[in-house]
């Protein structure tokens, strides 16, 4: 079980990192989402994998570790907020710059759009 679990974590990390290295905002957002799955699974497993042991008092003999669960629970919510922020930021970047590239190169139409946006303000 443990081996299977870490292989899955590794594969999801791999996919997340690869997508984060692409040059378009949407791929980066998808990559970040994927990475946050991997990180949550990773953190969660620090409490070990226990079956039928939910940390509800009185329901079982061997309780699962509740602390990583509590940490990951808030991490999921915060992760959502972060991804939402990045996705809106990339929309804003596209609206203001005219493209959705994050490769750092200068794009001729970018400059024009930026100047037009500044002129309007």
């Amino acid at each position: 079980m443990e081996t299977l679990y870490v292989i899955c974590v590794g594969v999801v990390t791999f996919c997340g990192v690869f997508l984060c290295l692409r040059g378009r905002t949407f791929s980066v957002v998808v990559g970040l989402t994927m990475l946050s799955y991997a990180v949550n699974l990773f953190l969660f497993s620090s409490g070990r994998l226990s079956l039928r042991g939910s940390a509800i008092l009185g329901t079982t003999e061997n309780y699962a570790d509740p602390l990583p669960q509590a940490l990951v629970l808030t991490a999921i919510v915060i992760g959502f907020a972060m991804i939402a922020f990045v996705v809106i930021l990339s929309m804003r970047a596209r609206a203001d710059l005219g493209n959705d590239l994050v490769d750092g190169r200068d794009h001729p139409d970018t400059e024009k759009k930026v100047q037009a946006a500044r002129g309007k303000q």
Binding site: M1, E2, T3, L4, V6, I7, G10, V12, T13, F14, C15, V17, F18, L19, L21, R22, G23, R24, F26, V30, M34, Y37, A38, N40, L41, F44, S45, S46, G47, R48, L49, S50, L51, R52, S54, A55, I56, L57, D65, P66, L67, A70, V72, L73, I76, V77, I78, F80, M82, A84, V87, I88, S90, M91, R92, R94, A95, V102, D103, G104
Partner: protein, 930 residues
């Protein structure tokens, strides 16, 4: 009174000139002198105590646990320096009053000067090495302000910058050296350090510590090869030069050498480095000084040369050489300060410092000329003047040392050579300026300066003579006291007197004087020889080096910070790989790895689905919609995994967040291109695959490494106290709202901030959108399908009821504010999807921003509430009540806290999605893309 008052008074004195500037120049001068005068009086009152061999030490505990104290120390060495700093400082203040013109900001000048004086005093009085270093840096900074006082001149700015760069860099080296020494000894206290010389010298790190400390000292004291900043610091007003280059600034390096002499000296490494640097500096400085046409330039190189002499004396392996070094520190301070002031008078009265223009000033400035001649004689080492005595001791000691083994004879020879040059340039200083025919073409007609401008020079010139004729009466005790601090063991026998009989040192003095006369007589031939060499300007070289460093740094920065997120990520990840692989290789593979728990077929299938959909997301990432669907499969399997591994709360949260995330990304996709063009070169893809594979492998390895270790968790405490302390049986929820409630409060705050940030980002956004999907099919005309409307509308009450139930039971069963909030959000978002923003808006009049604000407020107020019961922040309260018909129920303050969490989550999620969704409504509908 206490030693701390000296620093306090001096620092207070910094403000005095600024406050009294408006009362006129004389008033400000007198007021400024009060602080140093009081400090000087106090130091003099302590002199008998110190001369009796007592070291005055005072301490103020600051952070005793890490050995940080404010601590002051007045011993013989500190006393000698304090007297020089304060005494000459007072004279400089008087002199500057007349030197600076009426247009100049006298108050600011005096404030800088006082700051510098305080810093210098703090160096010599420090009893804690960190304190010493702080003061050391303060002298660098305040000298920068002083040198650049005439900031409108380029040379002032450049000179000041060069001084700051060189001495500041040295200061950093010094800090490292001092920290090393403190680490070896285990204390920052100077007293402790001075008592552990053997420990330091025997330590393996001694060579490094010594090198670092010497770097600090040599840069400050302008030793070769760091001497070049000093002549450029001559762009400062002359009072500053007179002060910085006689008694203070450059002497700080010498002070440091003397201060650490008992612990660092005594090894062949010390003798070799210090002697060599001193010897080169001595001869080179004296030689160059002869060719400087600028009065201050001559004095600057002469200062470099004399500093080299003192350093050389500290590097010779005889005790008497050390005494001579201390003696020469005093003598040099006295005659050099007066010479600078005399040069300043000449400059002030004639308008030039160029010796090619100056000549025959004797009839115009007889008084100043006499004083300058006394000081120059002292500088040249003429008998009956104080410079002669220490130079004579120097010659004597150069004969008695064996520092360079068989090559030790070079030292007296080169010393004599330096002496010849010194006589020659001293002669030039006097003869070229005051004699040699009528002056021509002077910018101003010279006449004697104001009476009181000459008083400081007179006092110093008198001291030159008095010390020169009655040395042991004037400074004998002070010198002995200072020497006893520096020299370990008994003081050697020495006699401070003018006449020691006919001996070799006297012969060397005679050679120096006669040789100097000859060199000066044939000076034109010497000049002709020298001027065939092209002079290299240290300033240009320095600026060039600085520019090359800046250009290199810019290139590195441009490579790293080129605006490409891809590059940032790649560099960051590569760095992570490097950082993690090393410890992973060193990690020992535990011999006993417990066997895996058995795997069932369901788990294998789930794992395969997870991996396949993750990889599919990557493969199809250019087809954005499709990859998004695959991504949601990954999220779904993750939430199933949480459910499988005993985390029902997480499974519920993940599921709800998954829904919200996918809706959000689909909405975003509406405004983004539907396809990604192929842009990455194959090599780039391979590189990224390699990086991703390495990171994935590392993460999996680390995960496997800890997942197979026995669990030793602090969570037993939470489980044991969940019911009794927090009043709930769901330990996860109790941790969230009770044990770690403050963390949760912080997290909902972050959530709220992110939502408001998004709200701001969406304000005034001008979007364009496509009118067809990736395959060119136009969007459906049926924007709000009736079946969806019917179902979602009828589901709404049910969903709200479920979320209410989940919220209430959260304390004891899986659920709670986070999950309930997400379920409510999903239910409401479904209404938005089904009906559109325009339909919802008049029906759901909730301001999501205030919802966030209320949520955070409720959570915070619940926390504060526990203060009213004298409990720490966020202590929860609970009790059980028996209500007829319903039965026993539990009421808890944590529920109110959870309500805050609930409201914030609902507010944040809807603020994000509703605002984004609003952009698709009729009112905001953006222009279509072609």
């Amino acid at each position: 009174m206490s030693l701390f008052w000296i620093t306090a008074i001096m620092l207070g004195g910094v403000l005095v000139p600024l406050l009294t500037e408006r009362f006129g120049r004389t008033a400000v001068t007198i007021c400024t002198m009060i602080a140093p005068a009081v400090a000087l009086t106090y130091v003099i009152s302590l002199t008998p105590t110190v001369l009796d061999g007592i070291t005055v030490v005072e301490r103020l505990s600051w952070i005793p646990s890490v050995g940080l104290d404010l601590s002051m120390r007045l011993d013989g060495l500190a006393l000698m320096f304090s007297l020089l700093i304060l005494g000459i400082g007072l004279l400089i203040i008087i002199y500057a009053r007349y030197y600076l013109s009426e247009r100049e900001a006298v108050g600011r000048f005096f404030a800088y000067l006082m700051l510098f004086m305080s810093a210098m005093l703090s160096i010599v009085l420090a009893n804690n090495v960190l304190q010493l270093w702080m003061a050391w840096e303060l002298t660098s900074i305040s000298s920068f302000l002083l040198i650049s006082f005439w900031a409108s001149k380029t040379e002032s700015r450049k000179g000041a910058r060069m001084a700051l760069t060189v001495t500041g860099a040295g200061g950093l080296a010094l800090l490292a050296g001092l920290l090393l020494i403190s680490d070896i000894v285990g204390s920052y206290d100077l007293g402790v350090i001075l008592a552990s010389g053997d420990t330091i010298r025997d330590h393996a790190l001694y060579p490094i510590a010594l090198t670092l400390v010497l770097l600090g000292a040599f840069t400050k004291s302008a030793q070769f090869p760091f001497h070049f900043w000093l002549p450029h610091a001559m762009a400062a007003p002359t009072p500053v030069s007179a002060y910085l280059h006689s008694a203070t600034m450059v002497k700080a390096g010498i002070f440091l050498l003397a201060r650490f002499y008992p612990v660092l000296a005594g090894t062949s490494m010390w003798f070799l480095i210090v002697t060599t640097a001193g010897l080169i500096t001595l001869v080179m400085g004296a030689y160059v000084a002869m060719f400087k046409h600028d009065l201050k330039g001559l004095l600057a190189y002469s200062t470099v040369s004399h500093l080299g002499l003192i350093v050389l004396l500290l590097g010779l392996d005889t005790k008497l050489a050390t005494v001579a070094a201390l003696f020469h520190i005093m003598n040099h301070a006295i005659f050099k300060a007066s010479l600078f002031m005399a040069a300043g008078v000449v400059d002030h009265e004639t308008g030039t410092r160029d010796m090619r223009k100056l000549s025959g000033l004797w009839p115009y400035l007889p008084h100043t000329a006499t004083l300058a001649m006394i000081a120059s004689a002292s500088m040249a080492g003429v008998p009956l003047f104080n410079g002669f005595l220490s130079k004579e001791m120097f010659f004597a000691e150069s004969l008695h040392q064996e520092t360079l083994g068989y090559l030790s004879w070079m030292i007296p020879v080169l010393a004599t050579l330096g002496g010849i040059f010194a006589v020659a340039y001293s002669l030039r200083f006097v003869h070229d300026v005051f004699f040699g025919g009528e002056p021509e073409d002077l910018p101003k007609t010279p006449h004697e300066p104001p009476r009181y401008m000459k008083v400081p020079i007179e006092i110093l010139a008198a001291l030159c003579l008095l010390v020169g004729i009655f040395p042991s009466f004037m400074v004998g005790d002070l010198l002995a006291s200072a020497a006893s601090v520096v020299i370990v063991g008994n003081l050697p026998y020495y006699s401070l007197s003018v006449w020691h009989g006919f001996n070799l040192p006297l012969l060397m003095s005679v050679i120096a004087i006669v040789g100097g006369l000859i060199v000066y007589f044939y000076r034109n031939e010497v000049y002709r020889f020298q001027f065939q060499f092209r002079e290299s300007d240290a300033k240009l070289v320095f600026e060039g080096v600085i520019q090359r460093i800046t250009a290199g740094a810019t290139r590195v920065q441009e490579y790293i910070d080129n605006g490409s997120l891809q590059r940032y990520m790649a560099l960051l990840l590569l760095f992570t790989i490097v950082l993690t692989t090393v410890p992973l290789i060193d990690l020992e593979i535990s011999t006993v790895i417990p066997p895996d728990q058995p795997v069932t077929g369901v788990e294998i299938v789930a794992g395969i689905i997870l991996c396949l959909s993750a990889i599919g997301t990557v493969i199809f990432h250019r087809k954005r919609m499709f990859s998004l669907i695959l991504l949601s499969v990954v999220g779904l399997v993750v939430s199933v995994a949480f459910a499988r591994f005993s985390a029902p709360d997480l499974a519920l949260t993940q599921l709800a967040v998954e829904v919200v995330t996918v809706i959000l990304l689909m909405l975003a996709l509406y405004f983004l291109p539907q396809k990604t063009l192929i842009e990455s070169a194959p090599s780039r893809v391979v590189r990224d695959l390699a990086i991703a594979a390495a990171i994935g492998g590392i993460v999996a390895t680390v995960n496997y490494a800890f997942i197979t270790q026995p669990l030793d968790s602090i969570s037993d405490y939470f489980i044991a106290n969940s019911k009794t302390g927090g009043g709930g049986t769901n330990a996860v929820n109790v941790i969230l709202v009770d044990f770690r409630g403050l963390d949760t409060l912080g997290e909902i705050l972050v959530l709220g901030i992110a939502a408001i940030g998004i709200f701001k980002l969406l304000a005034g956004i001008r979007l364009s959108m496509t009118n067809a999907d990736e395959n060119g099919l136009p969007w459906s005309k049926d924007v709000h399908p009736p079946i969806l409307i019917m179902i979602s509308q009828s589901l709404l009450p049910l969903a709200l009821l479920v979320s209410f139930y989940i919220f209430l039971r959260g304390h004891n069963m899986p659920g709670g504010g986070f999950i309930a909030g997400l379920i409510t959000s999903v239910a409401l978002i479904q209404q938005y999807v089904a009906h559109g923003v325009d339909w919802i808006k008049p029906r759901l009049k909730v301001d999501y921003q205030s919802l966030i604000a209320w949520g955070i407020l409720i959570a915070a107020v619940t926390g504060v509430g526990s203060w009213f019961f004298d409990r720490p922040f966020l202590t929860s309260w609970f009790d059980y009540f028996d209500i007829p018909l319903i039965g026993e129920i539990e009421l808890t303050s944590a529920l109110i806290f959870d309500l805050g969490v609930y409201l914030t989550v609902v507010g944040a999620t809807l603020l994000i999605l509703a605002n984004l969704g609003k952009l698709t409504s009729v009112r905001y509908r953006p222009t279509m893309e072609e």
